[in-house]
Symmetry: C2
Subunit: 405 residues, 2 copies
């Protein structure tokens, strides 16, 4: 059995170097441009937003990935370069070309990523001007600065590492992400970059990423809004020197998938904890479902309910709002008599009404916690799913009412 440990301090990954500068994309004096370099021979798996209005850099990154394995990822904040049409695509291309020319690689070996305001032209000049400084500053221990450099309304960097043994070789997985708002990832989250020094065959790497994203970024929501710029990238440099993992069913592949899953889950939960205006971290588990789909339908209906979210903000055990959300989740023939609901360890409702043992004091005590578990049992099957979300506060409204000003 492969051992693994999850660390909040970032470990460098053999074959990966990063640099971060304040290029002045939108604000002066604030780190806003990151370059990540992967050693030659690295493999890359990536998933992108399902939003039909996906951003220019997403289009270009997809195009480039189809042609070559990337050597450089260029990530700017302050401007999403989304809803910018043909001009936006040309701007993304100009940034990639500048990196390729200065680094001596082909344009398709550079992937662009952008996050920030939608619909405004990308300021290309400050980005291309900063490329020499970025290349000069590349360092293996650049993860912490980079995790800050990709933040927008995030208040904390999200960064973590896992260490595991693959076929007797010690291997590292390190990842960073940013999120904050417009956060209901579909295919991936806002921006997440994970790297490992393991040697992994491309189909295995693709499967490892898909599985990890599905149980992490696809299980969170801050506000139900899916970004135009979501992207999650997994790089494997092979620098650890293990024999390449080519069998997706091998113990090595499984160990790697679990480690990448751990890193993604840690990052995804970090995004929720730092969701715009979030004062609570809420894990919603729906068990006893006939299938995964209906558990997720109920969990996300609760996670997106403004009434549940404002009650969480107020620490008000207004469990009627939970029942109302469960009841409108669209489940066919839901028998409310079999449904039970717990807040942390307090049974609040069963048999279609308030539990006989429930007291308002116990409910209020549970809701006063900063971390809250909402456990729903549908009582009609074996499936179970967990999603993570945050509450809805004055600050969410303030941040999003003031975001562009």
């Amino acid at each position: 059995m492969a051992q693994r440990e999850l660390l909040e301090a970032p470990l460098p990954v053999g074959g990966i170097r990063l640099a971060t500068v304040a290029a002045g994309v939108r604000y002066q004096g604030r780190p806003d441009l990151v370059l990540l370099e992967a050693a030659p021979g690295s493999r890359c798996a990536a998933v992108f937003t399902r939003n039909a209005f996906c951003a220019a850099p997403v289009h270009l990154a997809r195009e480039h990935l189809a042609q070559a394995a990337p050597r450089y990822l260029l990530i700017n904040t302050g401007n999403a370069n989304a809803g910018t049409g043909a001009a936006g695509l040309a701007d993304a291309r100009a940034c990639s070309t500048a990196v390729a020319a200065a680094a001596g690689v082909r344009e398709e070996e550079v992937l662009p990523f952008s996050t920030g305001v939608i619909g405004e032209p990308l300021p290309v000049a400050p980005i291309t001007a900063a490329v020499p400084q970025l290349l000069a500053g590349l360092a293996a221990d650049g993860w912490a600065d980079a995790a800050r450099g990709i933040m927008t309304t995030d208040t904390q960097p999200k960064l973590c590492s896992a260490r595991l043994t693959v076929d007797g070789t010690e291997v590292t997985v390190t990842g960073m992400a940013k999120g904050a708002g417009m956060l209901r990832p579909a295919m991936a989250t806002m921006l997440a970059f994970i790297a490992t020094d393991a040697a992994v065959a491309q189909p295995v790497l693709d499967a490892v990423l898909r599985e990890a994203v599905d149980c992490s970024f696809h299980r969170i929501s801050v506000d139900g809004d899916t970004s135009t710029n979501d992207a999650c990238v997994l790089l494997a440099t092979g620098a650890a020197g293990n024999g390449e993992v080519t069998d997706g069913d091998s113990e090595a592949a499984r160990a790697l998938a679990e480690a990448v899953g751990d890193v993604c889950t840690q990052l995804a939960q970090g995004l929720v904890r730092d969701g715009e205006g979030a004062s609570k971290f809420v894990a919603i588990t729906v068990a006893g479902g006939e299938g995964s789909d209906e558990c997720l339908a109920v969990a996300f209906t609760i996670a997106h309910s403004p009434l549940v979210k404002t009650a969480l903000f107020a620490s008000d055990p207004n469990w009627g709002r939970l029942l109302a959300a469960i009841g409108r989740a669209g489940l066919a023939d839901l028998d409310v008599e079999t449904v039970s609901v717990r807040l942390n360890d307090v049974l609040i409702a069963e048999g279609g009404c308030r539990a006989a043992t429930y007291t308002e004091a116990a409910g209020a005590a549970a809701m006063a916690e900063a971390e809250i578990r909402i456990d729903v049992d549908l009582g009609r099957g074996e499936a179970s799913e967990t999603v993570w979300t945050s509450d809805f506060s004055y600050d969410y409204v303030r941040i999003n009412a003031e975001y562009r000003t």
Copy 2:
């Protein structure tokens, strides 16, 4: 062609009397209990919430409607009697029985309705104690007081009338509604009561109500949360003396359907205008769709987006959030090049990006209005749908964080 006019001042309806008292269901000295009496021989059509956790009075009203045409509707605020199980059903029955006994009708001729906090036992005693006073106070001009008596967090009563001619006879339609929050009606809205003095056959009355609800209460959303207590009732007393409308395809049936539709739309829009914390009234029209379903999917995705709603609150023409919402609405093969978006009369986006003619000043001026039209053209078909919604403000959070305290 039948003529009709829509009036904001309520007109009495022949055969209908109402009374309102302050029974002290939850608060003292505030009107909270309404009795509506329909003359013998009146017909009734009703639609109720699709929420699986529907309230005890909804269960009982459905049961009674299957047995008899109602003579009395008893409506309390302050307590929803939802999530209350078998005890809740017994409580609803006790209230109905009290009215039936005092009025000398059968229990199944009384329909109970409740709205307010979910999950707490209904205080039966103050309700039954007030029944004699209600019966003594019944009056044809009781609509205005009743519309206030059914309010919860509503700040304004919603009430309107239409007058039309049916086969040469003058006919009146008057309706009242309450809403405010937990407002994304499914089958009907929170509580709406409409009455006409027209003589209408039952199948025609049922069809008239279904059609009216579908184009009014089913086209609004404040927060995407569907209540456990939604109900919409249409009474027809026949007191106007017209020949009974028995043919659903007749001009008379059409005129009546349009008048009831007008009244329902006016009430539904009133609910949105008075949505919890609402500072803007927003009409979202999605045209150029392949079918009604995809137009509604896009319109409701926009209407439910917390990012769009906070931008509306801030009067910020942050149209990128509109594109992001359209792009995640789940439409297969949406070609963003054919989509255009207008704010009032300002073209803001077309061809997948900002319109060449767009200026921030024009967008800001449009967003500064209290009434805003968001017009989306998908450019791929002939279908069109309109929904109405409100913005997302500090006050929405405040009202729902403080609701139970």
